[in-house]
């Protein structure tokens, strides 16, 4: 049986029009009238708390004042000089726990200035106007840097190095640049191919040579890069997906949430993406929410997020949780997967063990429930795969250990983004990693040519 009621994992659960509607922009951009009124709400604080709260230290009051003054290009410049991926960050940053949480307007009104929406307004309008160059590349230094991984960290690093006159090789294992921005985010967060628009702008500064389909450890090695470049930045992301910790028999319907999300992002026609009728997503982060909500939007009838701890422990923000719930996703707390049920080679359900905290330790209570499911998505975190970069890169907590600037244990090698230890795995933090590393690399490279930087 086809149509929404059909069991099993199948594509085309909805009418053609419904897909377009479901995957349209989650938060429609502000109009000029809305943006100008919202911009006027900004108090232009001294030593603004919002700017301090932004991992990339965007001068928020300035860019908002420039919007209010109808200087959109100037606003975009303020944003992009601190955060070259400011357009994407405006879409995906958990602003409610970053800049907007710090807004002094919260004190009296519980309603911060909508900094994220304004940031998006400025960058969208700048990009829509053609994204003409805001920055000029410095005179070539003759130095060569390799950036491995074209996700937010690598892109930011490459951009800033190129601006300072270095020649950058940007290598990525995937067919498209962008990393998480291109493959790892829900489609409704970045419509109209915005991720690639932003990359086009970012590369337009010149001096960056992108090389796609180049995988570290397969197509080249760290040593070969070091032999041909003055410095290397590793923005490798997290290539591994954590296991459920129970038997995972090969069965139709059991998938990694990140692959599911990537399939949806890459599908020009969303009706071709198969989804179950009853979907269970295991995990409590943003990936779980993106997978669960999109499963609903693809026509899944029942979607649950199953998380083994309480709501407060979920790494998905309150806004994300609410987003899931208002899209018909049930969040089931204090439940851990115990057994995957399989019938005729396909997932038929999952047995969940109830959990509780005893003296701060998570334990099962002995009670179990069975959720019927024809699709189970794993979203319990990803892990760094260390082998391709080699054993000489020291690790901490399973990820690359660095100093504050991203310098690894290996000379001339920096790292940033999710593969680097520490932080909250936010896009905006990855950008800051790339930015800081670019600064440190620049200082080293200029010291080598005898120029103070």
């Amino acid at each position: 049986m086809n149509g929404p009621k059909g069991c099993g994992v199948r594509a085309g659960r909805l009418g053609a029009d419904q897909y377009a509607e479901n995957f349209s922009d989650a938060h429609p951009p502000l109009t000029w009238a809305q943006a100008s009124i919202e911009a006027e709400r900004c108090y232009y604080c001294f030593d603004a708390p919002c700017a301090t709260a932004c991992p990339t230290s965007i001068d928020v009051p300035s860019f908002i004042a420039r919007i209010a003054q109808d200087n959109i290009r100037g606003a975009a410049k303020t944003i992009l000089e601190s955060n070259p991926l400011g357009g994407m960050c405006a879409r995906v940053c958990p602003t409610e726990v970053l800049c907007e949480q710090a807004c002094v307007r919260n004190t009296n009104e519980d309603k911060p200035v909508e900094i994220g929406a304004l940031q998006r307004y400025a960058t969208d309008r700048f990009m829509a106007a053609g994204g003409a160059p805001l920055f000029t590349r410095a005179e070539p230094t003759g130095k060569k840097v390799a950036v491995v991984g074209a996700g937010p960290a690598g892109l930011a690093c490459a951009h800033l190095l190129a601006l300072q006159g270095h020649d950058v090789s940007l290598l990525d294992a995937k067919p498209k640049l962008g990393g998480l921005n291109e493959y790892g985010l829900a489609s409704y967060k970045t419509t109209d191919d915005f991720a690639q628009q932003e990359i086009d702008w970012l590369l337009s500064v010149g001096g960056i040579a992108p090389r796609n389909n180049q995988r570290l450890g397969r197509d080249f090695t760290l040593d070969s890069l070091l032999a041909n470049h003055d410095a290397v930045f590793l923005g490798l992301g997290l290539g591994g997906v954590n296991d459920l910790g129970i038997a995972e028999p090969s069965a139709q319907g059991l998938r990694n949430a990140v692959d599911f999300i990537a399939d949806i992002r890459q599908a020009s026609d969303k009706s071709t993406v198969p989804v179950g009728r009853r979907v269970v997503v295991i995990g409590g982060g943003m990936t779980a929410v993106d997978a669960a909500v999109q499963a609903r939007l693809l026509g899944a009838e029942e979607v649950s997020i199953v998380y083994r701890r309480g709501q407060d422990a979920m790494s998905a923000s309150a806004v994300e949780q609410q987003w899931a719930q208002t899209h018909g996703v049930t969040i089931r707390l204090w439940a851990a997967p115990q057994e995957l049920l399989v019938e005729d080679g396909a997932v038929s359900g999952i047995r969940l063990a109830s959990t509780q905290l005893v003296d701060g330790k998570l334990q099962t209570t002995g009670e179990t429930t069975v959720l019927a499911a024809d699709m189970v998505l794993k979203a319990i975190g990803q892990s760094y795969i260390a082998e391709p970069a080699g054993a000489r890169i020291a690790l901490k907590g399973g990820r690359i250990a660095t100093d504050e600037d991203g310098q690894t244990s290996l000379e001339r090698v920096w790292a940033g983004g999710d593969c680097r230890w520490g932080g909250r795995d936010l896009t905006v933090e990855a950008v800051e990693h790339g930015k800081r590393a670019a600064g440190a690399m620049h200082r080293l490279l200029m010291r080598e040519v005898g120029v103070s930087a």
Binding site: I37, E40, Y43, Y44, C45, F46, D47, A48, P49, T52, A68, V104, R105, T107, N108
Partner: protein, 440 residues
Amino acid sequence: MADIRSNFLGIRSPNPFWLASAPPTDKEINVTRAFEAGWGGVVWKTLGEDPHVVNVNGPRYSTLLSQDRRVMGLNNIELITDRPLQINLEEMTRVKRAWPDRALIASLMVPCVEESWKRILPMVEDTGADGIELNFGCPHGMSERGMGAAVGQVPEYIQMVTEWCKHYSRLPVIVKLTPNITDVRFPARAAKAGGADAVSLINTINSVMGVNLDTLVMHPSTDGKGSHGGYCGPAVKPIAQNMVAEIARDPQTAGLPISGIGGITTWRDAAEYIALGCGTVQVCTAAMVYGFKIVQDMCDGLSQYMDAHGFQTIEDFQGRAVPTVRDWKDLNLNHIDKAVIDQDSCIQCGRCHVVCEDTSHQAIFYQKGDAGERRFEVNEAECVGCNLCVSICPVPDTISMRSLQPGEVDARTGKTVTGEYANWTTHPNNPSRVAAQMSP
């Protein structure tokens, strides 16, 4: 309940809110709608001689907007009525007959020759109008023809025309003054000398609203060219109130009835004008922005305010603020205020700190705690009581001024507050003081 009825020059109206001579009072249909809405009176849009003037058929208005797109200022290049005199007179007659309890004032502007005034005044009187207002203020178009502000800027002309009007008419004469002049006391004195029963002010201020930065043409323009217009609305209120106060406290014109005009949008504005001596107030921009209904909110607000303060009639508080308007030299130099920040309602935006630091007296400390918490505190040793922080704080009543009491020590000067009054005229630094003492 407070009695907000008005008796201005013997002209009675159920409330002191009159519509000023302007587009809203141009026609019977508007005035009838205004009276239905509750306006106490109208000053009918200025009558002139036939053949009637002609308006432009392009933009006549333009606005200055606040950050939330409320109208702060309005500019117009309208002229006096562009309808034949007879039609206006007939409509005025009908309206006054239908609304005998409301004030109807005829605004007039004819050439500065006695014959013109002699001709029009009886016609106006025949309409049953309660009084006349001489439009000596219109700053655009008419002034080029030797009328309006061109007359209002010459005290001798004001006196002359006022005398003609008092001679040829038995109606009360209100002289409407232009603000486009250096010292408004001189035209006011001239009006009084000419026998005027009252003055009304202000008329509009010469203004250019802006420039279109794409075309580099002044804004607004008609077919690529613009002309300065008359500015009014909330933005002009401070200018108008100064002029009203100057006339109210000038010994030569003190007691001369005043009809206040300029940015009156709420009952508060009206009450301020009354406290500065006005007997009625005239409104235009607020009606042009919100419609006639707004008079009901003005009347109610005024009435509630009067009840709350125990004022039974408008006269009970009329002019009460006038003695508080003084020359700078009269201010008490021994009085000391210090800013106080209410830490409970402070939202830590830090604007008080940065403006004091950058542009005033470096009198607000900024402290940042280990956890990033922010605190802003007044440093009384530097605070001169300038009120800038109070003026720019976005949260109401969070920064206020505290007056030091006798016996307290001013941390800035180390001197003890005496509570004695002393002003510049007696200050040792004032060279004139010494001169004054030496002269017999």
